[in-house]
């Protein structure tokens, strides 16, 4: 549905995006991950046709964004980083205007606007002027605006920024609902969000694509590298944990009464969590907690976006999946 080929974007001498290629299939949710200034927004702006690429090409449903911009834009909905609202319009007026310029036929406009407002939980503010909306509402009106014309492709630049936890969950659900019928690209720097919502992840750093894969596959590559926290009750389990094959180091992390917390490190590439649990239970001790110390995706993210001089190169991934 979305085809990005050797996309390069330069601002003067600065290269914001450097030779990035990836594809997104119909109905898929692609997570766009990267530190601030990595080129996420620039890539999204090129995909949506806001700016042309310096080199390379982008196709939306087969339409080149440079050669057939109108056709490509008709099929794209875009929520920019800051929602593009007109302060002097009410929410409903604003959405009707957007429906008009997005090419929604005049008969269908009112019902489409109504539906989008219900879907994004903003029907209660439809007669409020955009300038008076809170950040959470602004974000959701922006989302409604992107959905209005029922585009094939949805590009969402940090859709959950500024929302409260309940709204974040609701927005995630909405994104899930939309996924089957729409192809979605969303950027975020909240890592759990990617693990929960996206089927595939693109990690971009300093304008370069460093990894493309499913969140599971990305984390699987690194299993074992992440220290694991184990909390045990009823006795010292250090020796038992140390005895598990693959474990390289066990250290006491904390003590709360009779519970002892251990930090367990293991060799890279091995998932020792099952064996650790078994070892503790076999001793007859109480296993209170067992979890990776860092979100595994966070670990991936740090690994691929941090330069390690002399270290192992970042996994390049399948640039064109």
């Amino acid at each position: 549905m979305i085809e990005v080929q050797n996309l390069t974007k330069r601002y003067g001498r600065v290269t914001a995006v450097d030779d990035v290629s990836f594809r997104v299939e119909r109905g898929e949710i692609l997570g766009f991950l990267g530190p601030n200034g990595a080129g996420k927004t620039t890539t999204m702006r090129v995909i949506t046709g806001y700016m042309p690429p310096s080199e390379g090409r982008v196709r939306i449903a087969g339409f080149d964004t440079l050669e057939q911009p109108i056709e490509a834009k008709r099929r794209t909905g875009y929520l920019p980083e800051s929602p593009p609202l007109y302060p002097e319009m009410t929410v409903r007026e604003y959405l009707l205007f957007v429906a008009q310029i997005k090419g929604v036929p005049s008969r269908a406009r009112a019902s489409r606007v109504e539906r989008a407002m219900v879907r994004t939980w903003i029907a209660d503010v439809k007669n409020v002027h955009c300038r008076k909306l809170s950040k959470g509402y602004r974000q959701r009106v922006g989302l409604a605006q992107a959905l209005l014309h029922d585009p094939d492709v949805l590009v969402l630049d940090e859709p959950t920024a500024g929302l409260d936890p309940k709204q974040i969950i609701e927005t995630r659900q909405l994104v899930h609902e939309l996924a089957g019928t729409h192809t979605i690209v969303l950027s975020t720097h909240i890592l759990p969000e990617v693990a929960q919502t996206c089927q595939r992840v693109v990690i971009i750093n300093k304008g370069k694509l460093v990894a493309v894969d499913s969140p599971e596959a990305l984390t699987a590559r690194l299993h074992g590298a992440t220290p694991i926290y184990v909390q045990v009750e009823g006795g010292d389990a250090a020796a038992d944990l140390q005895g598990v094959p693959g474990v390289t180091r066990v250290a006491v992390a904390d003590r709360h009464g009779s519970a002892i917390g251990y930090e367990v490190e293991s060799t890279r590439g091995e998932d020792v969590r099952r064996d650790l649990a078994r070892a503790v239970v076999a001793r007859g001790l109480g296993l209170l907690e067992l979890r990776p110390l860092r979100m595994s995706l966070e670990e991936v993210f740090l690994q691929v976006t941090t330069e390690e001089p002399g270290g192992e190169a970042a996994p390049a991934g399948e640039a064109t999946a």
């Binding site: 794209t76 875009y78 593009p84 319009m89």
Partner: protein, 255 residues
Amino acid sequence: MSNVIAIARKELRAYFSSPIAYVVIGFFTLLFGYFYVAILDWFVRQGMLGGMGMTASALNVNQHFVRPLLLNLTVVLLFVLPMITMRTYAEEKRAGTMELLLTSPITDLQIILGKFFGALLLYAAMLAVTLVYIGVLFAVGTPEWKPIAAGYLGLLLLGASFIAVGLLISSFTRNQIVAGMLTFGVFLLLWVIDWIGTFLGPAGEKIVNYLSVVRHFDDFAKGVIDTTHLVYYLSFITFGLFLTAKSVDSERWRG
């Protein structure tokens, strides 16, 4: 076409839901009234002198009242029109709504024309309000309507040319004040450009005279519609809108 109308309506809504439209129309009408009274006073005194046989030519309402009135009015446009055009692009860029417009399935030209006609309609509304004063003229005297209509056509064209320049300048910046100030400066320059005519020599004089926006207006104020001037204003507007399109496009490439 429907996209142009959509943008134009959006522009008008923005003017009328902010103080801009009211301030501009109020200010313009007030100054129009002031000039009206001042020139009327002069006209009446001239008439009295004429009655005493002290002036050579007979006074004519069209030539000696409406014409100076409209010529004076053009000065007011210098101040008022930048206030209308300064926000057109600058505000869209500042608020980030440019991203919405440029990622919608509409062309740059449709956006430009929409903004142009939005501003032009507000300006036309300003002129329409002043017709009340002209109506008074018809109630108490017998002016000819055709020269007045020509004069208003001239005002509309002159204003449209300024609006085209104003749009162009607004597309350069995201700061309304900068856009407004620059626009005013450029208008003023276009206004006085023929003052240095004699200094530039015969060829230069011809060029600056041609470029001067007001010089082309005088015939309209007299009540004459000359195709030279029509062509001048229409090409001025087209050129201004064309440059605006280029400016928006180049901004796209630069990012």
